[in-house]
């Protein structure tokens, strides 16, 4: 049921990302998303990045609407639909979480929730440069091991999350991996996990229009992100030829990733 709620706070995470907080009483699980309409701007899918009474979504300005949202061209109210989608469930006791860029917004609640269950969490957060890192403190507090990487070395270790992850996976015995970030990154992580025989869960993005499994815009192999995702297992992903290679545009046309 679409409902309208008042924006309570808008926090700037960095110069291209904001977090919008609002009341919503529905129960949300880590990894689920809302369809959020920011009139007069579009409605877009956004992961829930803050849970509890005062929920939150975190938006990175990457295109037409998200840039306007980050610039603050939003009204006093937003419309919410959802929460939609499946969610991250902990598999085993020793879990590795890998986030690229704003992907941390989609897995931060899982990290916090797994941590509060007493599980052993290792978190790797990566970004191009220091400015783009967000949720560092939240992730740090809830992780037993916490690693930051930047492509340019402006903070933490220089390099890519994937390389760090590969090393850690070889060294430690993780029971499972959760990840969200650029699909190319996730593809590599899924490949490594499958090779190492570790359960892996990745949160996938495609264009969402209806969010109720009717419009086919979010088709992903024989699945739909809105009905079967956004979280997919390594076993599912290895059979989806599109994964890491193709997505669909607004007209349904295939686009190389």
């Amino acid at each position: 049921m679409r409902r309208v709620t008042v924006i309570e706070t808008v926090e700037r995470e960095n110069n291209n990302t904001i977090t919008v907080r609002f009341r919503d009483d529905l129960c949300v699980m880590p990894g689920q998303f809302y369809m959020v309409w920011f009139p007069p701007i579009n409605e877009i899918p956004l992961s829930v990045s803050y849970n509890g009474k005062l929920k939150g979504v975190t938006v990175k300005g990457i295109g037409k609407s998200t840039k306007k949202i980050v610039e603050g061209a939003v009204g006093d109210v937003i419309s919410l639909d959802g929460p939609y989608g499946n969610y991250f469930k902990p598999y085993g006791n020793k879990i590795l979480a890998i986030a690229g860029g704003v992907g941390i917004a989609s897995i931060i609640l899982a990290i916090e929730s797994f941590h509060s269950m007493g599980l052993d969490i290792t978190t790797i957060i990566g970004a191009k440069k220091y400015d783009e890192l967000i949720f560092m403190e939240r992730a740090n507090i809830s992780s037993d091991t916490f690693i930051v990487t930047t492509d340019d070395g402006s903070y933490g270790e220089k390099g890519f999350t994937v390389n760090i992850a590969e090393k850690l996976i070889a060294e430690k015995k993780f029971d499972s991996i959760i990840t969200c970030g650029p699909e190319i990154m996730m593809k590599k992580i899924v490949d490594i996990s499958l090779k190492s025989n570790i359960k892996v869960y990745a949160s996938i993005e495609r264009i969402m229009k209806c969010a109720i499994g009717i419009c086919d815009s979010c088709v992903f192999g024989a699945y739909h992100i809105c009905m079967d995702g956004p979280i997919f297992t390594g076993e599912q992903l290895k059979d989806i030829p599109d994964f890491g290679k193709w997505k669909h545009g607004f007209s349904g046309e295939k686009i190389k990733l």
Partner: protein, 303 residues
């Protein structure tokens, strides 16, 4: 012995349930999935000459009992889409290609392109929310006659005309389609509708107007099919609000020789085809129908 297969004019379908145009039918994977879940045919998203992105979000309003949508006919254009129907066709999946255009020439152009890989062509003369397309041209009997005639003279496969309920008398348009040479008429497309959010103080859909589908429009579809069955001699295909085998039977008794299912898939998943087919078979056994054909139009005998 119960046989579920039905004839729609010269075509034979393995059962009377088809996927309605616009619902999970823009991709190869989805249509294949729905065929595998039991549909007698899949009707594609309506395809135009060139790619269209559709309207910005929000594009749906989902309420108890009905859905309102204004997708805006997003589609990759016929040249791109051909690859999808070719693949489906190669796998012996019965694909009915739905097309939309502004005039008879463009409709014919699209139909000819799709012909090779399609079991039939469905003409979208009824989308209620696209400027210069769909219902805007499909509510004029002369237009409908011209378009159908033009397409019929261009392709050899069956041509179905999909009609709008947003009209004073659906039979007038049905007769125009029949006279133009249509092999079947399909009723109904969505009912023109709008929802306004009183907190946001504007229409919810970015296109403002949309089309209503789902449970709530079933009686509108039944009335249209019943009327058409008495007005035309070509087969009538029923669509609108079907969610159960009872709904299928109701449409058939009203006069539909087969039906299409759309919105219900969002509520019940693609396995709905399977479920309805199973229940339909049980129903037919209990009521001593050997073929769906025997149910077609029976409400007219007593009505």
């Amino acid at each position: 012995m119960i046989k579920l297969s039905v004839e729609v004019a010269s075509l034979t379908l393995r059962n009377p349930l088809m996927l309605a145009s616009g619902v999970l039918d823009e991709s190869y994977e989805s249509m294949k999935k729905i065929w595998n879940s039991g549909a007698g045919a899949v009707i594609t998203k309506s395809i135009g000459k060139t790619a269209r992105a559709g309207y910005p979000n929000p594009v749906v309003v989902n309420e108890d009992g009905y859905l309102i949508n204004a997708m805006g006919l997003p589609n990759p254009g016929i040249d791109d889409f051909i690859n999808i129907i070719e693949k489906l066709n190669n796998e012996k999946i019965k694909v009915i290609t739905s097309i939309f255009a502004e005039n008879g020439d463009d409709f014919s152009y699209l139909a000819k392109k799709a012909e090779q890989y399609s079991t039939a062509i469905e003409l979208n003369l009824s989308c209620p929310h696209a400027k210069g397309l769909g219902a805007e041209i499909g509510s004029n009997a002369d237009n409908v006659y011209d378009i159908v005639k033009s397409v019929k003279s261009s392709v050899k496969i069956p041509v179905w005309a999909k009609l709008t309920p947003n009209i004073a008398d659906v039979s007038e348009i049905g007769i125009a389609a029949e006279e133009g040479g249509a092999d079947a008429v399909v009723a109904i497309n969505t009912v023109r509708a709008m929802a306004i959010d009183i907190k946001i103080k504007k229409p919810v859909l970015s296109n403002r107007y949309g089309g209503m589908s789902g449970k709530a429009i079933k009686p509108v579809g039944i009335a249209a099919v019943y009327k058409l069955y008495e007005s035309v001699k070509i087969p009538v295909i029923g669509v609108g609000g079907i969610e159960s085998f009872e709904d299928v039977v109701e449409y058939m008794m009203a006069g539909a020789c087969s039906v299409e299912i759309g919105t219900a898939i969002a509520r019940f998943g693609v396995n709905l085809f399977n479920k309805i087919l199973t229940e339909l078979q049980i129903y037919m056994k209990e009521n001593e129908y050997d073929s769906p054909r025997e149910m077609v139009g029976v409400a007219h005998i007593n009505g």
